[in-house]
Symmetry: C2
Subunit: 699 residues, 2 copies
């Protein structure tokens, strides 16, 4: 009943509130919902049904210890009771899996709806610990070690991060020194900063761990490799000899995950428990690897674990949807302060400030969703083996870094805005938003700190640029010719940067530059041009660093670091805008497409608005045109007003997913009761006269 | 030891890390610290010592129920064991108080350092419940009701907010109908939306409440008044007949505050328990008030409770300091990724992105601090009676609204940035930041939703403008002349808006317009001009609404609502910038003044940078000059690098206030241990050779 209270009925009763407008299109909520299910709709539906099952819900009343046990119990259900075994989908068919990495993530991401702690603890078990065995182990090792990891008989920790080294994995201090006498590796933590930290499963439940350490044999350090190390006696749950650990204790969220620290004092593991796909040690201590370059080997190993970042991007998108769906449903009912109506106060969504708060975030969430869908495609292409090329792997890593860094920051800002937009009610745990915010907080720094990830993306962009520049004249004129040539080369269209080349030419065309801001091509040009220009500027500025002494090079890099991050953000914006625009073509229903096009315009124009000073300073927009950006956005937000509830409903999350009292229709019911009370008073003449009106009457 | 690890020693050993620079000034940390104690240094010191006492600390391990009891226990200490009775300072001397409202707040705000739950629950008891009796009661009522409220023998709730009405107090539904037969008021909750909600003390500890209700007598509603209503039997703690309630349960933070709901079913209180300072009812039901206008009466009553907003501004400033002090101390020690040094990795503060994250927030926190000091002055002027004029009251309310809305939003963004800047460590509760964030979250919406407050501020600005405009010709030429005349009138300097008038003239002077951005006058002009221009634009845009029908007027208002909020924010920015600039004159030490001037420039220029598009679009800055803003900010941030730790140390919070493991020096100790390990390896030749360097050597 209440879910449709704000939805457009046949005609447009709602229009009265927003003033006279043209007949407005309707969103086909069901059709859009189906489209949003993406490439693996059955797995999404299955996962959504599971997240609506109370047995998987976050129980806010539990203590940390109780919450941890509840989540472990939920994982046991995922591992054993779920006949569909969604969490095994990514594993080999020969071991009961589905060899279906994309489908696996599509379902896995939805666990965040049930309880983010469940998503993360399940992610540790099946996405990190088991994945390390799958991707870094040999087939023999997979056969031997995966079954226990998959069925949760061996809960495992993924022991990569150290206290002293977070995102800089190459510099970890833990050593694994080969002893040819016993054919064992000696795993050792040489100092406190090399303790493994923040490891899910480590504080309580892990009986084994995949431990990353510097592999040393015959006096040579071959860099970071991964070892399978039992850590607790599964019977007593006591640490095994040489292993010690600490509980990370309370955290800002994800209290159902038992994060902790591990340290190793000369712990011996058999030679065969080095996960040996990318590097093996023979009995005599001779090291061999299919990848000759230690640097490339390291990045290949780490790259095989990219799915964590992919899934966090999806989870962040989902959590943004939950927060916005709650805030929009509430804002569609909640009334506050008097209005032009003699009876009712104004609905929150009829305040321009409220639309400004929420609607651009709805638009950005759609962009995040569509970009994530394409990331999942790319991920499945690579990891299913269908299109596993080095280029695609590199693209996947860059795109995952760009999108994860963007969406996990976006979700926090969005949930905070939703919380505040719901007033005091937003602060109450039973309305869910603060709980989601607390749990999502760490997504911005784990699986790669967002600032570090953005720098990786930017370096790739600058590197691509430099590569393409090689051979081109390095004078400004030569450069310009290069960019034009490049744009003319239709084959160069794969990455956003190459597309950007195109845009620079277009922007030079006065006819197009004069085009309207609502024109998709104009938006694309403006967004792409910004990426290309910043990348180009940074690349030029960094050139002297190549031949400079280390201190000077460091200074030059430091001077350009903020711009590097800007370049990566602009790239992520373009990726998301392009994904949104491409998705519009898949929308069959004309009304839906029209509304989604407005929404895409809101996204594109708010991106431009956010960086308006850049466009002005760099002469890309005249002051006069810049002035129209904000007013055009406002007009679009006004136009989207009647569709707000439809747009959040299309995400497909019902009451059992949202689980927020204020999104349940209770607010409208309370207003109805109050309205009836005052109506009765007016009817039976018992309403008091207000002193104010008396005074007016008396004059 | 570790607290000075990053501080400049006699010469400047630290300078080596940041490259060759000119001799840099030093901050006199002790002297600055003394200045920052402000007007009531002894009360600040007393309160800080108390917040460093473990008995007042937040205990993160407690359940909600245990936390609530702990905070109540802490309040009992404040009420009885503290021989200085800081929490009684605002109350009349005849009742044991100090008649010292400013000193009271100066100390009260520091409670947030101990535990924000303690600050808020104490605020409910002494700042709201007792304050309502003090400010809305007659002297007789004060004598009768205050002692129990002050000594906590009567824990009380402040029952203003209703489920259906948050910031719109005038529209509450609770009624207090006078019954002349029994000389009683009948307090009644007519429907669910009129339940009082989010009331501290209501869920568990309150035995009485100050209840706001529509006063109805002889069939006339005289608007919202406040009533003293016993709600629980102090012996059994059961609700009294007719009173019911619910527990708000878990919240996103402040779990030590027992927020709850209250409802009244025809609860009778004696006529004498209407707090009657601004409105009384005689035995026969005749209403009388010293304030004739119901509107003015309402705002006078509410205005007397402004101290809540004032104290939240101070608490937000303090919490920003805690978060930044933790993040800066950690960033001054923490190293990550390789650097130009062959031995050590780069300290986080030596990353440009990290300086960009934290330093402008240090600057803004100083601005917030100095602005708050002036707000406290204004508050004390009014509430001590020293300068209690209607103009000052109005200024106080506007300034409190502007600053509270700004600082309580700023603190959330700052704590989030600090959390992320500390990586995974920032997420662990023992590092404090997430805990502070959770507790501070609701500050943005209670005591007036920030968006609503900003609109109040903007309306005042527009109203002032309109008032001053009266009589001036309404043509553009007449308007321009008015603004110039106004600026020439030296007497018109009281509000920020009037100062803004000054700026518009200055901006017209080409010599000054060409002045450097680091010139304080230029910054002032740019900031003031922005306030004046937006206010003027909005005022002009709203004019047609005055003569329009209600629906059109609502539409016009809606179209300008976002700009109204912008105007208020710009006003708050100017207030804070001016307070910072004025405070520079109080700094005696030249080195300190120089560094603080850089910091003020960072604040001013980041404000301009934030709104750069506005300055460009409105022709206030040329593209060329705009381009220099960011690079000049970056240069200042670089220059401030060696002073970062000093600047956060000057806030005066030591380890017992910060209570964050990562701010304790433990990180530097761990690095020292790791450094020693690698040094030993190099010395005894046991260090493995890296495969990478071997390959280089061979090939």
């Amino acid at each position: 009943m209440t879910t449709t209270s704000d939805r457009l009925p046949a005609a447009g009763a709602d229009q009265a509130a927003t003033g006279p407008t043209k007949p407005t299109p309707r969103v086909d909520v069901h059709g859009l919902s189906e489209q949003l299910l993406g490439r693996w709709p059955e797995w999404r539906r299955h996962a959504r049904a599971r997240s609506a099952d109370p047995v998987f819900w976050k129980d806010e009343s539990l203590s940390m210890a109780e919450h941890r046990e509840r989540v472990l119990e939920q994982m046991r259900r995922l591992a054993t009771e779920d006949e569909k075994h969604q969490v095994w989908l990514a594993f080999p068919e020969r071991l009961g899996g589905g060899d279906a990495p994309g489908a696996n993530l599509a379902g896995f991401e939805e666990l965040v709806v049930a309880d983010p702690s469940l998503q993360i603890k399940a992610g540790v078990q099946w996405g990190l610990f088991s994945s390390a065995i799958l991707h870094l182990g040999t087939p023999d090792q997979q056969d031997r070690l995966l079954p226990g990891a998959m069925d949760l008989s061996v809960p495992g920790a993924f022991a990569m991060t150290e206290i002293g080294h977070g995102s800089d994995v190459a510099s970890i201090g833990t050593t694994a020194t080969y002893d040819p006498d016993t054919e064992e590796f000696v795993i050792h933590t040489p100092f406190r900063a090399a303790w493994k930290d923040y490891l899910g499963n480590a504080a309580a439940h892990a009986t084994a761990a995949t431990v990353f350490a510097q592999l040393i044999t015959n006096g040579v350090n071959h860099g970071v490799h991964c070892f399978y190390v039992p850590v607790r006696d599964p019977e007593t749950m006591e640490f095994l000899p040489g292993v010690s650990g600490e509980d990370d204790g309370l955290k800002g969220g994800l209290r159902g995950v038992d994060n902790g620290r591990l340290a190793f004092d000369h712990v011996r593991v058999p030679r065969t428990d080095l996960l040996a796909r990318y590097g093996a040690v023979a009995a005599d201590g001779t090291y061999s690897s299919p990848i000759d370059s230690p640097g490339r080997r390291f990045f290949t190993m780490l790259g095989s674990l990219v799915q964590g970042r992919v899934s966090l991007d999806g989870a962040a998108s989902t959590a943004s949807k939950l927060g916005l769906a709650i805030a929009v449903r509430y804002a569609a009912e909640r009334r506050q302060f008097t209005s032009s109506s003699p009876v009712d106060e104004t609905v929150l969504l009829d305040y321009a400030t409220h639309r400004r708060r929420l609607f651009p975030r709805i638009a950005e969430t759609y962009a995040t969703h569509f970009a994530h869908d394409r990331l999942l495609d790319l991920f499945d292409d690579v990891f299913s083996g269908a299109k596993d090329t080095p280029e695609n792997r590199e693209d996947l890593e860059t795109t995952a870094a760009a999108l994860k860094a963007t969406s996990t920051t976006f979700v926090l800002e969005t949930l905070q805005e939703c919380r505040v937009a719901c007033g005091g009610a937003g602060f109450i745990t039973s309305n869910r938003i603060t709980s989601l915010h607390h749990d999502m907080d760490v997504y911005a720094t784990f699986e790669g700190d967002n600032t570090v990830l953005l720098q990786l993306v930017a370096k790739r962009l600058v590197g691509d640029y430099a590569k393409e520049l090689k051979g081109a004249t390095s004078t400004p004129a030569g450069l310009a010719r290069f960019v034009v040539d490049q744009a003319a080369d239709a084959a160069l269209h794969r990455t956003g940067l190459r597309r950007a080349g195109q845009a620079i030419v277009d922007a030079g065309d006065p006819r197009r530059a004069a085009g309207h801001l609502r024109d998709a091509d104009t938006q694309r040009e403006l967004l792409a041009d910004r990426v290309a220009t910043i990348v180009e500027d940074v690349a030029m500025a960094l050139r002297p660093a190549q031949k400079a002494d280390p201190a000077t090079a460091a200074r030059i890099f430091d001077e350009n670091q903020v711009q590097l991050v800007e370049a990566a953000k602009a790239h992520a914006d373009l990726l998301r805008w392009s994904a949104f625009t491409d998705a519009l073509e898949q929308v069959a229903d004309p009304g839906t497409r029209r509304v989604l096009t407005w929404l895409r315009d809101v996204f594109g124009l708010t991106l431009i608005e956010r960086n308006l000073a850049w466009y002005l300073v760099n002469g890309r927009l005249s002051a006069q045109r810049a002035r129209t950006v904000t007013s055009y956005v406002d007009r679009l937000l006004d136009r989207l007003r009647p569709h707000a509830v439809d747009l959040v409903d299309a995400w497909g999350y019902g009451p059992d997913h949202l689980r927020a009292v204020i999104a349940s229709g209770v607010e409208a019911e309370r207003q109805e009761e109050a309205r009836a009370y005052y109506a009765r008073q007016r009817a039976d003449g018992s309403a008091p006269v207000s002193e104010k009106s008396l005074k007016k009457k008396r004059g």
